[in-house]
C-alpha cells in the first residue's frame, strides 16, 4: 500500500509537500490508520502527529484521511483505503505547525466563548444538584464530544469566518449547557449567540454530523439553539 503524508517542517521546508511511503499490510487482519503512522514513524522518526489514548477518547489524532476528517486511532484501513492508497493530511482550515499537527488556538478560542461550564447562581445544596432521569436524558448526544475538531474543521462556514462563526463543536457544547436543567444562565448564553455569525452562519450542510467520530449530531444541536433563540427573541 502507498501512504502519502503531508509533510511540512518549518525549519527546513519553504512550503508543504506530500511524501510517499510504502507500507506492507499484514494479511488476515485490519489495522487502524494510527498503527500505520506508528510503524512508519519507526522508519522515519521525523513524521510528526499528535496521539495519546489510541482508543478514540482523547481526540488528539484528528486528521484528514483520504479526504475525510476522522480519528486515526479508530479509522480502520479497510474502511478508507481505495486503490491501495492512503492519503493523510492535517485537519483543514487551521494553521499547520508541523506535518499533521495543527494549531488549535482558534478552535479553543471559540470553545471558550460559549462558557463551557455549568453556571448556577443559586446557593449550593448540601450534597449535589440533582436531575430527574428525563432531565439527564436531554444531555445524551451532547456531553460525549471529545473536542477532536473533526467537525469544526470540516465546516466551510468555519473555514471562511473562523473568528466569528463558533463552529459545530463549540455550538454542541453551548447547547449541552442550554439543555442542562441545573444551568441558570440561559438568558445570558442566548444573548451572546444572537448575532449574524455565531450561530446563524451555519448553512445546515451537515458535514459536522457526517464526520463526527463519536456519531454525534451538532447540526441538530444548532437547530435547537435556533429554536431557543426564536423563543427567546420573540
Amino acid at each position: 500500500m502507498q501512504v502519502s503524508i503531508y509533510r511540512y517542517i518549518p525549519e527546513t521546508d519553504s512550503q508543504p509537500r506530500m511524501q510517499d511511503y510504502e507500507f506492507e499490510r499484514p494479511a488476515g487482519r485490519d489495522l487502524m490508520v494510527l498503527d500505520v503512522l506508528e510503524q512508519l514513524k519507526i522508519k522515519d522518526p521525523s513524521i510528526t502527529y499528535r496521539r495519546s489514548c489510541r482508543e478514540g477518547v482523547c481526540g488528539s489524532d484528528g486528521m484528514n484521511i483520504n479526504g475525510r476528517n476522522g480519528l486515526a486511532c479508530k479509522t480502520p484501513l479497510g474502511a478508507v483505503v481505495k486503490n491501495n492508497r492512503l492519503v493523510l493530511r492535517p485537519l483543514p482550515g487551521l494553521p499547520v505547525i508541523r506535518d499533521l499537527v495543527v494549531d488549535m488556538t482558534q478552535f479553543y478560542k471559540q470553545f471558550e466563548r460559549v462558557d463551557p461550564f455549568l453556571i448556577n447562581d443559586e446557593p449550593p445544596p448540601e450534597k449535589e444538584r440533582l436531575q430527574s432521569i428525563e432531565e439527564r436524558e436531554k444531555l445524551e448526544g451532547l456531553y460525549e464530544c471529545i473536542l477532536c475538531a473533526c467537525c469544526t474543521t470540516s465546516c466551510p462556514s468555519f473555514w471562511w469566518n473562523p473568528e466569528k462563526f463558533l463552529g459545530p463543536a463549540a455550538l454542541l457544547h453551548s447547547y449541552r449547557f442550554l439543555a442542562d436543567s441545573r444551568d441558570t444562565a440561559k438568558e445570558e448564553r442566548l444573548s451572546q449567540l444572537d448575532d449574524p455569525f455565531s450561530v446563524f452562519r451555519c448553512r445546515t450542510i451537515m458535514n459536522c454530523a457526517n464526520v463526527c467520530p463519536k456519531d454525534l449530531n451538532p447540526t441538530r444541536a444548532i437547530g435547537k439553539i435556533r429554536t431557543l433563540l426564536v423563543k427567546h427573541g420573540t
Partner: protein, 120 residues
C-alpha cells in the same frame, strides 16, 4: 475580518426570520399567479392586465417586490462575507466585498424603483 455594519438588521435572529418570512411571501405570490393562470386557460391580455392592475394584486406585487429585495440582500450579504473576505483575498478582501455590496445595493435600488414604476 468581516463586520456586521452592512448586515440587514445587525441581528442574526431577525435576518434568519426575515429571510424565511420573505420566502413564504414570494412562494405565495408565485402560487397565486400560477393558480390564476391555471384557472384561466384561455386568458386574454386584457384579462391579465385587469388582474395584475387590481388594487389587491398591486399591493401583493409591491409586498413581493420588497420581500425579494430583503431576501436578496440578506443572501448576497451572506455570500459576500463568506467568499469575499481576507481568507480568500488577503488585504484586498474588504475592498472586493465593499465593491460587491455596492454593486448589489445599486442593483437592488434600480430593481425596486423599476418594479414600483411597473406596478403603479
Amino acid at each position: 475580518m468581516v463586520v456586521n455594519v452592512s448586515n440587514f438588521s445587525r441581528n442574526g435572529l431577525s435576518d434568519f426570520l426575515l429571510q424565511r418570512l420573505t420566502a413564504v411571501v414570494i412562494a405565495a405570490y408565485v402560487l397565486c399567479v400560477l393558480g390564476f393562470l391555471w384557472l384561466n386557460p384561455g386568458l386574454t391580455f386584457v384579462e391579465w392586465i385587469s388582474y395584475m392592475e387590481s388594487i389587491y394584486m398591486r399591493i401583493f406585487s409591491t409586498l413581493t417586490l420588497f420581500s425579494i429585495t430583503a431576501h436578496a440582500w440578506i443572501g448576497m450579504w451572506t455570500v459576500s462575507t463568506d467568499y469575499l473576505n481576507e481568507h480568500h483575498f488577503r488585504s484586498f478582501g474588504h475592498v472586493f466585498r465593499w465593491f460587491f455590496q455596492l454593486f448589489v445595493t445599486v442593483a437592488i435600488v434600480i430593481y425596486v424603483l423599476l418594479g414600483l414604476w411597473v406596478i403603479w
